[in-house]
């Protein structure tokens, strides 16, 4: 048993899962993974759903993705313990240490900020890597192609200037 699946196997499996989710015998909807965040914010901070229009808009999609998220936590945990053997508690990614800095505080502060603007960005665009890039482009949606192009450009520019990419050995 290998501990890693190759990228092409991952692509085939994800495609199969996506088609199952789309089909009327499955869930008859795309896979998405960012609407659950404002939904959870509503649940955790006890916001009144009658008062905030946005909570009403995301009620169905948010709860669907919320249940899916619980599943992916379980799936990720079980796979990491029994198959990839990658489960361990850690704070600092190896590549951050190498290409950015060795400060834990810096990593945590940047993580918090990045998480914050990531959700704002995803909700402004109406989707994330799963909802727009994967599900949206599979439907040949123009909106998802615009989003995908902007994200890749922005990702590559940030990677180029945020990290010290020349620090190879």
């Amino acid at each position: 048993m290998t501990n890693r699946l190759p990228w092409w196997m991952g692509g085939i499996l994800l495609s199969g899962l996506l088609l199952l989710t789309f089909s009327i015998y499955g869930a008859d909807r795309p896979i998405g993974a960012s609407t659950y965040v404002p939904y959870f914010a509503g649940v955790i901070f006890d916001l009144d759903p009658d008062k905030y229009i946005y909570l009403k808009e995301v009620k169905n999609a948010g709860s669907w993705e919320g249940v899916m998220l619980f599943g992916s936590l379980v799936g990720g945990f079980v796979t990491s313990v029994f198959i990839t053997k990658s489960f361990r508690i850690s704070i600092m990614p190896t590549a951050w240490k190498k290409y950015k800095n060795k400060s834990v505080i810096s990593r945590l502060i940047w993580s918090f900020i990045a998480g914050f603007i990531m959700i704002i960005g995803a909700r402004l665009a109406g989707g994330c890597t799963s909802g727009h890039f994967m599900s949206g482009m599979s439907q040949l949606a123009i909106s998802s192609m615009i989003f995908g192009t902007v994200v890749i450009i922005s990702l590559l520019i940030t990677g180029r200037y945020f990290y010290d990419t020349k620090k190879d050995k």
Partner: protein, 219 residues
């Protein structure tokens, strides 16, 4: 037959139960199926290791191309499969609207944060499940992002997103040639996935736990 559970409470637990009830009643698959889709999704993400910081941040630095290769392959294969399923009446399109400002501002913010956090909202939870505390902090940041978005949606974010220009797909520009367009799109995107050169950035901390013959970097 409707299943009715009493979920009138106001505490956190009953709000979570209400979430499950929403899923049961919205007709997008049973609760078990949705949960199962999540398990498989998390399993695939974990098994292919694309939840690692080195994969997305590595792509941002152009030191790893596994994520784009896998994503493009998924899109290429799904686009063709989905089109035939829709033609057969087994599925429907669920298109997101074109909202220029939202897509561009949102895309820029999303790209920046993906490069810094090294995760996206789908892979993040999977890496929390394998014990990454920094990503958990990122998720808490995300919750506050979701809170701020909800609180200021009407006054700030909705006007910022701009007007919707409708739900267009590539097919709308090529009326009458739908089959051909889908086929070409699917093949081109799949070819892109295969043609992107494969570079990988490995994490010694993970690989050191594997026996030598199982290490992908020593093959």
């Amino acid at each position: 037959m409707d299943i009715v559970v009493v979920t009138e409470g106001k505490d956190l637990c009953s709000r979570v139960v209400q979430m499950m009830e929403n899923v049961i009643h919205q007709g997008h698959g049973s609760l078990v199926l949705v949960f199962l889709i999540g398990i498989i999704f998390g399993g695939i993400i974990q098994y292919t290791r694309v939840d690692k910081f080195e994969k997305i941040a590595g792509f941002a630095m152009l030191k790893d191309t596994i994520v784009p290769k896998m994503l493009f392959l998924t899109v290429g294969l799904t686009s063709i499969g989905l089109y035939f399923m829709i033609e057969a009446g087994w599925a429907h399109y669920h298109i997101k609207p074109i909202i220029w400002q939202g897509l561009i501002i949102g895309g820029i913010l999303f790209g920046i944060s993906m490069a810094i956090l090294g995760k996206c909202p789908g892979t993040g939870p999977v890496s929390i499940a394998e014990g990454r505390i920094d990503v958990l902090v990122g998720a808490i940041g995300g919750l506050f992002g979701g809170l701020v978005f909800t609180l200021y949606y009407d006054d700030f974010f909705k006007p910022l997103m701009g007007e919707s220009l409708g739900k267009l797909t590539l097919l709308d520009f090529f009326k009458g040639h739908e089959n051909l367009v889908v086929l070409i799109f699917g093949i081109v995107v799949t070819a892109v996935a295969i043609l992107i050169p494969k570079v990988e950035l490995f994490d010694e901390a993970d690989l050191s736990k594997l026996p030598d013959e199982a290490r992908p970097d020593k093959k």
